[in-house]
């Protein structure tokens, strides 16, 4: 094989190896996190705490529409879906029973408000 062709092949192989390393680094080792993401991208434990905050505020003021507006900040899902997901997570990680009951009260309020 002529030397020039051999160098070209090895050069191309080196580029391919470099691309592979770059992709592994950017997608696996150190992927770029969403720096300006919204609450939808939050990890489930943080979302659950947000739901708890909404429930605590509702417990204080009884404002269901305000609670709905706050829940829409967390996710685009329906309030019941958001609260249910939070409750499932809270029970799995054994949240304080008082916190769980606070969220359950909010869930009941939304269920009672269903047409």
């Amino acid at each position: 094989m002529p030397h020039r062709t051999q160098r070209l092949i090895f050069f191309t192989l080196a580029i391919c190896v470099g691309i592979a390393v770059g992709l592994i680094y950017g997608w696996v080792i150190n992927p770029r996190e969403i720096a300006q993401g919204g609450p939808e991208a939050l990890r489930m434990d943080y979302k659950t705490d947000l739901v708890l905050m909404v429930a605590e505020l509702y417990q204080n003021d009884g404002d269901l529409s305000g609670a709905q507006a706050r829940l829409s900040f967390i996710s685009k899902n329906t309030p019941l879906e958001i609260i249910t997901s939070a409750l499932i997570f809270a029970e799995n990680v054994q949240y304080d029973p008082l916190d769980v009951s606070t969220m359950l009260a909010l869930k009941s309020a939304f269920e009672g408000n269903l047409p």
Binding site: F11, A14, I15, G18, I19, G22, R32, G37, L42, L57
Partner: protein
């Protein structure tokens, strides 16, 4: 006539070695292409984040929610833990600034809650941003509460 000797190049002769720098160049070039593809063109977008990575507007709403919950429950420890998640460089100053902004926008109740939360943090646990103050220094955090209207008494 005498023939001058000709130089005969054998096909087996190799030209002088130019080194293997072309391999390193290829590697670096490929690495750059790979990084551009993975970090710029097609980054991983569906990665869950913590509150410190939220955009500033979302952080403001988050901060307000914490302040409102503190106003409702009075649980300062929990409120501070939640505020710490935002990893603000100067959390108390940020609260105060946000309070001023809300006051200017006519959101007096929210502004009040933010300012009260900031005051509670100042008078309660020593916040991270003031721990580096040298001794014999007056530890007073300027919380802009003077311009806020007085609290409406709870009936």
């Amino acid at each position: 006539m005498r023939e001058e000797p000709r130089e005969v190049h054998s096909y087996e002769e190799q030209p002088p070695r130019k080194g293997n720098w072309y391999l390193l160049t290829g590697l670096v070039l490929g690495l750059l292409i790979g990084l551009i593809i993975s970090l710029v063109l097609f980054p991983v977008r569906f990665r869950t984040i913590d509150p410190s990575k939220l955009g500033e507007n979302y952080k403001a709403t988050y901060r307000l929610m914490i302040a409102n919950v503190y106003a409702a429950t009075g649980d300062l420890d929990r409120a501070q833990q939640r505020l710490d998640l935002l990893a603000d460089k100067a959390p108390i100053t940020t609260l105060g600034t946000q309070a001023q902004r809300y006051l200017a926008s006519g959101l007096s109740e929210d502004a009040q809650n933010l300012a009260l939360f900031a005051s509670a943090l100042t008078s309660g646990i020593v916040p991270q941003e003031t721990r580096d103050i040298p001794p014999n220094t007056i530890e007073s955090e300027a919380v802009p509460t003077q311009t806020l209207p007085p609290l409406t008494p709870i009936p």
